[in-house]
Structures are given as structure tokens and as C-alpha cells.
């Protein structure tokens, strides 16, 4: 372990609700946390103490704006600790040549597991029939409405990144067929590629949304895509709420123009459109798709790994390409 003098300085960026980072980080780095110095505002703290800071660790989805970045003239890297990175001003980072890393594969398996869980839940009515039983309705009503079989379902994956490819791998033995859309066709992948999401939706029974939120992908699941998917279609979203036109989604679901949905993310969390709260063909989740007791240990490894690689001029573990 480096001695106190040898430990490189890392600035912690977090919203007050998020706890301090893990203890193992302070063994290796000198952590500067503005929120622990309540006498100063963050702005003045940074102006006075952070002029030589080269690395910032952004906890969770704490927004990192160009305002904050402008107070850090020596900044060279933003180390993210979540699957998505849309809360960081990537344009500003690109402009200044600041490197950015994300959680890499730390959350891929947990995210993929959750997608499959949501899909089975929607198709086989797991949560809604659990409600039925818990409300004491089984003796009274007898059978619960039948679900729909997974086998033979055509699954379209929107974004075949680390989470998307783990989803595909898991769904194959269930008898699902896999196709995908992505910014570019992946050369080593045998699943059929669709250049646009509408085309994919037209040939799918299920759409799994697990891509990054960018300017291009905002509201990419829109009215046309939902129409193409059809009234038996199911959408699973573990990406970001804004990937889907939420008002249209609600409209489609309420009118029976879509078969069902499993949603872990929403446009205005923690607010969920109230029309969804009474539907039995949707499964709702409070943005926890990658939260498991084990995932934090994996994340710690990635964060420490990226910071150590940066400070020793080695290749980063999970750099984000800033196009």
C-alpha cells in the first residue's frame, strides 16, 4: 500500500444523499470530499483546494456539470461508478480531452439477470399473481389468467453492449430467438442485426432496452416503434427512462395497444405515471437493476483498477469512447 505522501489525490463528487466511498479507496488514495467541509460551499472549496486535482470520482448518478468541471483546470480523468454515464457532461470532457471511465462489466451480469427476471415476470405474471395470492383471492376466484410462453418469442435487444450480450446468452436456452440493433453491426456476433429500432420492433415480440442514453437515443422508443412492436409486444427497460417516450408508452399500455412492460427506469424518477400503478401487465421497479450485495464489491475493483491504471499511466479498464 502507498504511504500517505505517495497516495495520489482523488476528488470525490457526490450528491449529499450518497454515502462516502468505500474504505479501500482511502487506503490507496488521498480523498478530497467537499461535502465533509461544511464551512465551505462546494464551489469555494474547489476554487481553493482543487486546482491541481487530476482525477475525480463521480459517485452514482451525481450530475457532473461543466460548471463544476470549470473549477478543475488540471482535471484529466472522470472515474464513473455507475453503469450509465449520461449524468456527466461528456461534451465538455471531450472538448477538454478529459478521459472518462464507467463501471465496465461490474454490473453486466446483475443487469442481465434482472432483465430476464422482469421478462419472465411480465410474460408469466409473477408479481401480479403474487399480489393475487397475497390478497387472499385464490380461494375466491380460482384460476388466475394465463400467461404467455417464453419459448419461441422473438427478442430484440436494443444495444448489444455488456448488459445486452449477457441478456442474449441467458435467453437462448429458454427458446427465444435473438436479434439486435446497435450503433454499428458487431462483427463477431451471429444474431441478426437491424440498422434501426423500428425494423427490429416489427420483427420482435419483445424489445429489451439496455443501451446508453445520448442525444441520439433520447425517446428512441417512440410511437412508431411501439406500433411496430404490436399489441402483444412487451418492452423491458433497464437503460434510462428517457430512452422511451413515456407519455406514449402509458397511452399504449392503457389502451391495450401494447402487451406489457417491465420498467426499472422512468423519465422523472422517483415519479411513476399513476396510470401504470393499477395495470397488471406491467412490472415496476425503482431503478435497482444492478443493485445486489455482490455488485458493489465488483464495482470497487473497477473503480480502484481504473484509478490505479490512470496514475501509473497504464491502459484504463473501462474507458468510455467520447465520439
Amino acid at each position: 500500500m502507498p504511504t500517505e505522501e505517495e497516495r495520489p489525490v482523488v476528488l470525490i463528487h457526490r450528491i449529499p444523499a450518497l454515502k462516502q466511498p468505500l474504505a479501500s479507496l482511502s487506503e490507496r488514495f488521498t480523498l478530497l470530499d467537499p461535502l465533509l467541509h461544511s464551512a465551505d460551499s462546494t464551489h469555494s472549496f474547489l476554487s481553493r483546494h482543487a486546482s491541481s486535482v487530476r482525477a475525480i470520482l463521480c459517485l452514482g448518478a451525481s450530475p457532473l456539470t461543466s460548471d463544476t468541471l470549470s473549477l478543475l483546470p488540471a482535471l484529466e480523468i472522470v472515474v464513473g461508478s455507475s453503469a450509465g454515464i449520461d449524468h456527466v457532461d461528456l461534451q465538455e470532457c471531450r472538448r477538454r480531452g478529459i478521459l472518462v471511465t464507467n463501471a465496465g462489466n461490474a454490473f453486466s451480469e446483475d443487469g442481465a439477470d434482472y432483465v430476464v427476471g422482469l421478462l419472465i415476470d411480465v410474460l408469466r405474471r409473477v408479481s401480479s399473481s403474487d399480489r393475487f395470492v397475497r390478497n387472499g383471492l385464490w380461494p375466491e376466484h380460482g384460476a388466475y389468467p394465463l400467461g404467455s410462453t417464453l419459448g419461441g418469442k422473438r427478442v430484440g435487444i436494443v444495444g448489444l453492449g455488456s448488459i445486452g450480450s449477457e441478456v442474449a446468452k441467458r435467453l437462448v436456452p429458454f427458446g427465444c430467438s435473438i436479434a439486435y440493433t446497435s450503433r454499428k453491426k458487431k462483427p463477431c456476433v451471429s444474431y441478426p442485426f437491424y440498422a434501426n429500432v423500428s425494423g427490429l420492433a416489427a420483427d420482435s415480440d419483445v424489445l429489451i432496452v439496455c443501451c446508453a442514453l445520448t442525444e441520439e437515443t433520447h425517446h428512441m422508443i417512440n410511437k412508431d416503434v411501439m406500433t411496430a412492436l404490436g399489441k402483444e409486444g412487451v418492452i423491458i427497460n433497464v437503460g434510462r427512462g428517457a430512452l422511451i417516450d413515456e407519455k406514449e408508452l402509458v397511452h399504449f399500455l392503457v389502451r391495450g395497444k401494447l402487451g406489457g412492460a417491465g420498467l426499472d427506469v422512468f423519465e422523472d424518477e422517483p415519479h411513476v405515471p399513476k396510470e401504470l400503478l393499477t395495470l397488471d401487465n406491467v412490472v415496476l421497479s425503482p431503478h435497482v437493476a444492478v443493485v445486489t450485495a455482490e455488485s458493489f464489491a465488483a464495482l470497487e475493483q473497477v473503480v480502484i483498477g481504473n484509478l490505479e491504471a490512470f496514475f501509473s499511466n497504464k491502459p484504463l479498464l473501462s474507458p468510455v469512447k467520447l465520439e
Binding site: 451480469e109 442481465a112 408469466r124 408479481s127 395470492v133 411513476v272 400503478l277 421497479s285 435497482v288 450485495a293
Partner: protein
């Protein structure tokens, strides 16, 4: 065949009921108030019984129907059919194997994910408005990938569960009456040893006299406070009272249950627990599979009465 009397043991499927009505002389047992009287009156008319997991053909019923030729079950499990009696009397028995294997296995995995990742609790949390208030902490969620899955009964359904769990990098252990050769899964010679060596224990064997309460106090203790029980078999596979007290006292980590000892009654102590998922016996409950099962029941009956080979005979 409209004159052939068929007795349907209980409501099970509208399409099946309609087709039986169309093709045979259907008697709906559940609509009869005096069953003894009814059987006495119709004993020479009824040549077939259609049953399921809830009600089938026990010794008493078989004895009351001297003209009974075939029992066609709308299920793969035959614990509600007195097989010994059927063999004795030369009554044919058919079930619905294979066609429901995938749906049941899918649900087993769905239950594992729902329990470990707290899907139902999360859904309740959002629906109740608690997420907006933000002051309630959800219970701990556990990763599913890589967890060891122990399967009791490596038949069609057990193997289908194993195949799916493998895609999640789950090591597979199993218990079976005899060890299966050439399998990459690890065999344990007793259920207790299996329970001590897995994180998630799945019941996927038939219900017989030997397997009744195969999940007892000893097995539950071996599975332990982090262990999860998944029952996609039959309610009587599990000593339900022991299970309930273990869950309430925290001696068992969680459970995903599709079946119960006294369906449709489910122990109410379970209703307030976040680490259980409760389903109303829907392992094969999809539109697609129930239709296929119904067609298989009809196909078996037709084959029998046309003197053709049965499609899926057991006896």
C-alpha cells in the same frame, strides 16, 4: 363418440371443457350436488375420466365406475390417480409430458430471480408510492449469477431447469433415486447433503409415497438462513408447517412457491414476508401450453375410443 360418457373431475380449462362437450357426453363432476347418487346413476355410462393436478381418479372413484376404460390427466403429475388400482383393473392412464416442461422450467428460474432480486417487493414498493417518499429501505438483494442450484429429480423438468441455470453460470448439483451417468452435474446421494451444498434448492420430482415431505425440517436446516427453496412440484413435497415457521423465524433465506399442501389455501403467515414469492399453481399456465395440453388429452381419448395407439400412455 357423442354417446361416450366422460367425467371431468373439476374445472381446468374452458377450451378442453367445450371440446369434451362437443365430442362426448360430458359430465361435470363439480356441478353435481350428490356425487354418490350421481355415480350410481351413471356408472354404466362413464368410460373415461379427465383429471388434473387438483382432482383425478382415486380408488373410490375407480371402484364406482365399472365401465371405466381410461383416465386422461390434464397434467404430467399423476399423484391424484390411483395407478395401482388402474393397473389392477386394466384402466389406461395418459398424462401430458414434454409439452409443459419448458413453461415449468421457465417459471422455476423466474421464481429464483423474483426471490433473490426481490422483484415482487420492488413492484409493491413502487405501486404503494413508497419510492416517491423515499424513506423505506428495500431488503437486501442477492446476485443470481453463479449461485449453486440443487435440483431434486433430474427428469425432463429438472434437466430443463439445469440447462437454463447454466446460462447464468450456476453450478448444478442434484439428487435423484439413482445417479445419472455421463453428466457434468454433481450428484449427492441424499437430499440433506444436496441442501447443504447449494444456495437454491428446486423440487422437480414426482409426488409419490416416498417423496411426500421430502423437504422436511432437516433439509430446511441444511439449506439454512441464506438458502432459497423453489417448489414447482407438488405442495405435499414440502412439510409446509415447518417451512412456514422456518421462513417466519428467519431460519430459511427465502422461498418461491407455485404449489401448496392445501390449494387454493396458502398459509397467511407468508403474506407479510418479503423473501417469498407465491403463485397460484401456474407452472404450465400459459395460453399456448394449456391448449397443447388440452389437445393431447383429447387426442388420447380419441385414439383410445378409435382403438388406435395412445399418444402419451403411462399405463
Amino acid at each position: 363418440m357423442e354417446s361416450i360418457g366422460v367425467l371431468m373431475a373439476c374445472p381446468m380449462n374452458t377450451y378442453l371443457e367445450q371440446e369434451l362437450e362437443r365430442r362426448f357426453n360430458l359430465f361435470k363432476f363439480w356441478t353435481v350436488s350428490d356425487k354418490t347418487q350421481f355415480l350410481k346413476a351413471q356408472q354404466n355410462n362413464i368410460r373415461a375420466v379427465v383429471g388434473n393436478a387438483t382432482a383425478g381418479a382415486d380408488a373410490e372413484l375407480i371402484d364406482a365406475l365399472p365401465k371405466l376404460e381410461i383416465v386422461s390427466s390434464f397434467s404430467v403429475g399423476l399423484d391424484k390417480v390411483d395407478m395401482v388400482k388402474c393397473k389392477e383393473k386394466g384402466v389406461r392412464v395418459t398424462n401430458t409430458p414434454d409439452v409443459l416442461t419448458d413453461d415449468v422450467a421457465d417459471l422455476a428460474i423466474g421464481l429464483m430471480l423474483a426471490v433473490l432480486r426481490r422483484l415482487c417487493e420492488s413492484d409493491r414498493y413502487v405501486r404503494s408510492g413508497k419510492w416517491k417518499k423515499g424513506d423505506y429501505k428495500l431488503t437486501t438483494k442477492v446476485r443470481f449469477t453463479g449461485k449453486t442450484v440443487g435440483i431434486i429429480g433430474l427428469g425432463r423438468i429438472g434437466m430443463a431447469v439445469a440447462k437454463r441455470a447454466e446460462a447464468f453460470s450456476c453450478p448444478i448439483n442434484y439428487y435423484s433415486r439413482t445417479e445419472k451417468p455421463n453428466l457434468k452435474y454433481k450428484y449427492y446421494p441424499s437430499v440433506v447433503e444436496l441442501a447443504s451444498n447449494c444456495h437454491i434448492l428446486v423440487v422437480a420430482c414426482p409426488l409419490t409415497e416416498e417423496t411426500r415431505h421430502i423437504i422436511n425440517r432437516e433439509v430446511i436446516d441444511a439449506l439454512g438462513p441464506k438458502g432459497v427453496l423453489i417448489n414447482i412440484g407438488r405442495g405435499p413435497h414440502v412439510d409446509e408447517r415447518e417451512l412456514v415457521s422456518a421462513l417466519v423465524e428467519g431460519r430459511l433465506g427465502g422461498a418461491g412457491l407455485d404449489v401448496f399442501e392445501n390449494e387454493p389455501h396458502v398459509p397467511e403467515e407468508l403474506f407479510g414476508l418479503e423473501n417469498v414469492v407465491l403463485m397460484p399453481h401456474v407452472g404450465s399456465g400459459t395460453v399456448e401450453t394449456r391448449k397443447t395440453m388440452a389437445d393431447l388429452v383429447l387426442g388420447n381419448l380419441e385414439a383410445h375410443f378409435l382403438n388406435k395407439p395412445l399418444l402419451t400412455p403411462v399405463v
